[in-house]
Each structure stands twice: as structure tokens, then as C-alpha cells.
Amino acid sequence: MSDFSAVADRGDTAIRFTNVHKWYGSFHVLRNISLTVGRGERIVVCGPSGSGKSTLIRCVNRLEDHQRGSIVVDGVELTDDIKRIDEVRREVGMVFQNFNLFPHLTILENCTLAPIWVRKMPKRDAEELAAKLLARVKILDQANKYPGQLSGGQQQRAAIARALCMTPKIMLFDEPTSSLDPEMVKEVLDTMTALAQEGMTMVVVTHEMGFARQVADRVVFIDRGEIVEVNAPGAFFDHPQHERTRLFLSQILH
């Protein structure tokens, strides 16, 4: 596995995986992962289902732990130390496949919960910030509704706004469009594209190859727990080098 620091050196390092291994029981789910994500870089991670791509980005905010190697996020190495984990989680936003909005809170309350309780922001300021971000994802008019009253696309945009309310330095997206009805995929991708254009560091697990081509700085292809190929999107899609990459692309690009 070669090092990509040459590419990442454009800014400082946001995330650095060094020889990371992870097992579920005896199943070796991540194998010797080394990857450096620079500040402001947009990485798209793709691969067949069960390849470990979700596990990989869930390691970044320690929703999963790793057993060997090191992961450094925003200068903090992730260990069992809860303080470090909290420190990392404050700076890393995450958007999930199933939105995971809190159904007992309104959209506005979903957005202000963490700023108020984690950042200790006064309620008024948190609401102002939330309103600004909800306006940016174009659902300010839904602020006082409950998640169950919104469409899937609106819920996912609310989830993006909720994560942004913590003013994170890094955003993780775990298949953000996979459980959306087809007509709602675009509104979420547009939101993500806008975010990328503002310079947010993003790691996105997705099957949306159009998005990858348009937005990503690099595409990482993972199969069977190992990184198989990394390249700029143009080269990745037009001239895949590894046979497994070619097979994967032929299966998803009909």
C-alpha cells in the first residue's frame, strides 16, 4: 500500500489512518488501512456491500474501535480515552443512511440539542445558528415539525443541518442517499455539493458515481476490507487499474 501524503500535503492533515486493522470476532473486516485525508479534501469511498467501507468511516468518530494501527483525527489520536473520543466527536459531524433524527424532538430541537448541551451555547444563539443552517439546506419552514412529518429527503437535509450546527471541521456521510426514494436523491446531493464547494472536509461513502465524479478529489475503492485503488475521479472511472475495480465499476455502471 503506497502512501498518499503527496496528495494530502496541499493542506495539513485532517484524518490519518496508519496500518489500521479491525476484526469483528475473528472476521478481519479492515486490513492494513493507510489513508491520509487533507484539510478541505473530499474523499468518496466506494466498494461492494460488506467490503468494510462503512466500518472505515465509523472508525473516524469511534462508533467502531480498531484493534491495531493508529487513527489520528484533527491532531488527536483515537484510543479508549473517552476525553479524546469526545474531543474528536465534537469536531466531526456524521450523516447516516437512516437519518437517525431524534423523533421526539422538533427539527429545530434536533439541531440545537448538541450545541446547547455539548458546546454550552446559549439557547437563543443555538436557535439562531440552527435557523441559519436550516435555511441553507432549504427547510427552515419545517423547523417546528417533527421528523416523522417530513419526507425522506427533507429528513436527510435536516440531519445534515443538525451535524453542521456543531460547526464541525470534518463531515462523514455514510450512504446518505441509499434509503431515499429516487426523486429525493438529488436534493440531498445538491446540499452536499454546496457544502463541498464551501471547502468542508468530507468523507463520503456512496454509490452515487455522478456525485463522486463531480465533487470528489479522490475516490477510494475498498474490497474485502482492503484499499484496492485510490485515484482522482477522472482517472478512477475512465482508467481503472486494478481488475477488481474494473469488475466493480462494470457492475454498478450499467
Binding site: N61, L63, I82, D86, R89, R90, V92, G93, M94, F96, N98, N100, L101, F102, P103, H104, L113, A114, W117, V118, K145, Y146, P147, G148, Q149, A159, R162, A163, M166
Partner: protein, 376 residues
């Protein structure tokens, strides 16, 4: 081969029409629910006939043929086809207060009135400043109630030994103490049972399974007889306090399992989203997990409350005179002895317990509906 043409383009919109008459309104409901088949029609007619036969009889027993006022059991002994409410009226003070000294009973009235006002404040969901109500009810009220009921030389109220406490007020006291302590204790046990720390988890499991595996009466006897043995004599808890602790502990174990069910039915994504936002365990639990888990298990929790309220009648086995025990004592009074006294007394006790339990059930249904509004 299709008989329709291959291509079709709509030219005029399909008009919106109301549903047919027989499929809406009361008529449709009656047809669907009461007379959907011959069998269901027969059951409907049979039930209506039975009710028409029984209800007037019961109503007459309880009202027109009942004795409403008398000074002793003589009149009731002559009219055996009606209830003897005069007996309940005559014993009312004893049923409410037990042997609490007559001159001091106003103190119980005051405690009950304050308690009722605070409970209404707390249960009325749109009431102003409910957090103040909670503070008053859970912190200030217990202290005030204890001083008033037991008395204190500091405020010049004579001491009334708990041996003399009895009747409805002891039943309510037992139920309220049980409810107020068992829910938080149950929540802690449920969280403990799901804790990643093995010691905490094991302790919770042992406690819950032990208490659930033992009949309530055994717990009461143990609280009553064993607790004093383990503690120095000066610390020996009050005779009334022991069954109160027993009932809170007993109910907490069942509450814990109820709450655990709610915790388990929450999606893992809720925990993950809370963690990803940087919420630590206490905040995640208090702000995200418990509000959802508890809402999900309101029916079960209220079911436990109702069971707890019924179980308060068992404290009589360790010598506490609750309402039912007071009724038992009253029934034994030779002045009122008569064939209708027993029935009247227990029917009244039944109405009392039913009123409270049905009230709780209705309130929980109301809360569920309110919380369900606007959510999935």
C-alpha cells in the same frame, strides 16, 4: 391478446366523489362491528339482553332499594335486598383516617389537599411552570407531609405514632411513595442491566431477578422482620417505613424490566447519532434515549402502577391498617352486623380501587395520545 388499445392519454380529470352511504357513518359502524354475521348478531343480541336484565337489578340494589342513613344496623337488617350505604357513611371517618386521633385529623386533610393540588399541577400537561410543581412535589412536599402527619415539637404539633395511621390516607401514601420511588429506581436498574460494566450489570441482574422471583408477601415479611435484624436498634426503620421500602423495591424490579423493553426497542441509530454529536453517556441517556424509551412503555409502566396500587392492600399482613384492612375492621363491628354489610363494604372498596386505577389508565391513554401527536 389485450382487448384494450395499447396507448391511452387522459383527456379529462376523474372527479372526486364521496364514499357510498353504507360504508361511512354510524350505520356502517354498527353493521361492521355488531351485525357483521349471524353469529356476531346473536352475540350482540345476547349481550344486550343480559345487560338489560342485570343492570336495572344492580342499579336498584345500589340506589332505590339501598339504605342511605341509619344510626345502627337495625334498618339494614330489615331491608336485605339493598345496599347499606349508611354503614359506609357511619364508618367514613374511620375508613379515611384509621385510628389517627380525631383532634389531629385536619393535618391529614391538609396533606391530602396539598398533595391533590400538586398532583393535578403535575399531571396537567400544559400547566404553567410544571418544573416548579415537580420541585414542590418531590422535594418540599414530602418534608412538609412528614412534619404534618407525624408531628414535630419544633412546630408545636403533637407526635402521632405511625401505629395509629390507617385507612384511605395510608393506602394513598403507600401508593404515592411506591410510585415516586419505584420509577427512578427501575430506570437506574434497567440502565444498569444494559451497562457495559460487568459488575454493575451483574448487580442489577441479581437484584431484579431475585425480587421478581419472590412473592410480594415474602418481600414484605423480609422488609418487616429482617431489616431490623441487620441494622442497629437505634436505626431500625419505622414500622410503616419498612413495608414502604418493600413495595418500592418490589415494584422497581418490575419497572426495570418494563423500561428495559423500551430501551431495547430503540433503534441503534439513535445511540449512534447521539454519540456522533458528542453527547456523553448521561446526556445521551437523559436527552435522547429515556424520553423515547419511557414514552414507548407508558402502557406497561401504568400497568405496573395499577398493580402497585392493588398490592398496597397486602401491607396489612405486616400490621399496617390500609383502607381495605380498615374496611375489614369496620365490617366486624357488632353494632352494624348484618347480611348486607359485607357486600356493601366490599362493593364500596371495589369502587374506590376501580376509580383510582381507571383514572390512571385513562390518564395514561391521554398522555400517549398527546405524545403521539405529530410523531411517527
Amino acid at each position: 391478446m389485450s382487448l384494450e388499445p395499447v396507448a391511452y392519454v387522459r383527456t379529462a380529470p376523474e372527479p372526486e366523489e364521496p364514499p357510498p352511504l353504507l360504508s361511512r357513518g354510524g350505520l356502517a359502524w354498527i353493521r361492521a362491528n355488531l351485525f357483521s354475521s349471524i353469529g356476531s348478531s346473536l352475540v350482540t343480541i345476547g349481550c344486550v339482553a343480559l345487560a338489560a336484565y342485570l343492570l336495572p337489578h344492580l342499579a336498584a340494589w345500589a340506589t332505590t332499594r339501598a339504605i342511605w342513613s341509619a344510626t345502627d344496623g337495625a334498618v339494614c337488617r330489615q331491608h336485605q335486598d339493598g345496599a347499606c350505604w349508611a354503614f359506609v357513611v357511619a364508618k367514613w371517618d374511620y375508613l379515611r383516617f384509621g385510628s389517627y386521633p380525631v383532634a389531629e385529623r385536619w393535618r391529614v386533610d391538609v396533606v391530602e389537599a396539598i398533595g391533590a393540588a400538586l398532583v393535578v399541577w403535575l399531571l396537567w400537561m400544559n400547566a404553567p411552570r410544571r418544573s416548579w410543581g415537580a420541585l414542590l412535589f418531590f422535594v418540599v412536599y414530602p418534608i412538609v407531609a412528614l412534619i404534618l402527619l407525624r408531628g414535630s415539637s419544633l412546630v408545636g404539633l403533637p407526635i402521632v405514632d405511625t401505629l395509629l395511621w390507617g385507612g384511605i390516607f395510608v393506602s394513598l401514601l403507600t401508593a404515592v411513595v411506591g410510585i415516586v420511588f419505584s420509577l427512578p429506581l427501575g430506570v437506574l436498574l434497567a440502565l444498569g442491566r444494559r451497562s457495559p460494566l460487568p459488575v454493575v450489570r451483574m448487580a442489577s441482574v441479581v437484584f431484579i431477578e431475585f425480587v421478581r422471583g419472590v412473592p410480594f408477601i415474602t418481600i414484605l415479611f423480609m422488609a418487616n422482620n429482617l431489616l431490623p435484624l441487620f441494622l442497629p436498634e437505634a436505626w431500625a426503620p419505622d414500622r410503616l417505613l419498612r413495608p414502604l421500602a418493600g413495595i418500592a423495591i418490589f415494584s422497581a424490579a418490575y419497572m426495570a424490566e418494563e423500561v428495559r423493553g423500551g430501551l431495547q426497542s430503540l433503534d441503534r441509530g439513535q445511540y449512534e447519532a447521539a454519540m456522533a454529536l458528542g453527547l456523553n453517556y448521561p446526556r445521551m441517556t437523559a436527552l435522547v434515549i429515556l424520553p423515547q424509551a419511557l414514552t414507548l412503555v407508558i402502557p406497561g409502566i401504568v400497568n405496573n402502577f395499577i398493580g402497585l396500587f392493588m398490592d398496597t392492600t397486602l401491607v396489612s399482613v405486616v400490621g399496617v391498617t390500609d383502607f381495605l384492612e380498615a374496611m375489614n375492621n369496620a365490617i366486624k363491628d357488632p353494632v352494624w352486623a348484618g347480611p348486607t354489610i359485607l357486600t356493601t363494604g366490599y362493593v364500596f372498596a371495589g369502587i374506590f380501587y376501580f376509580a383510582f386505577c381507571y383514572g390512571m389508565a385513562r390518564y395514561s391513554a391521554h398522555v400517549e395520545r398527546t405524545l403521539a401527536k405529530g410523531r411517527r
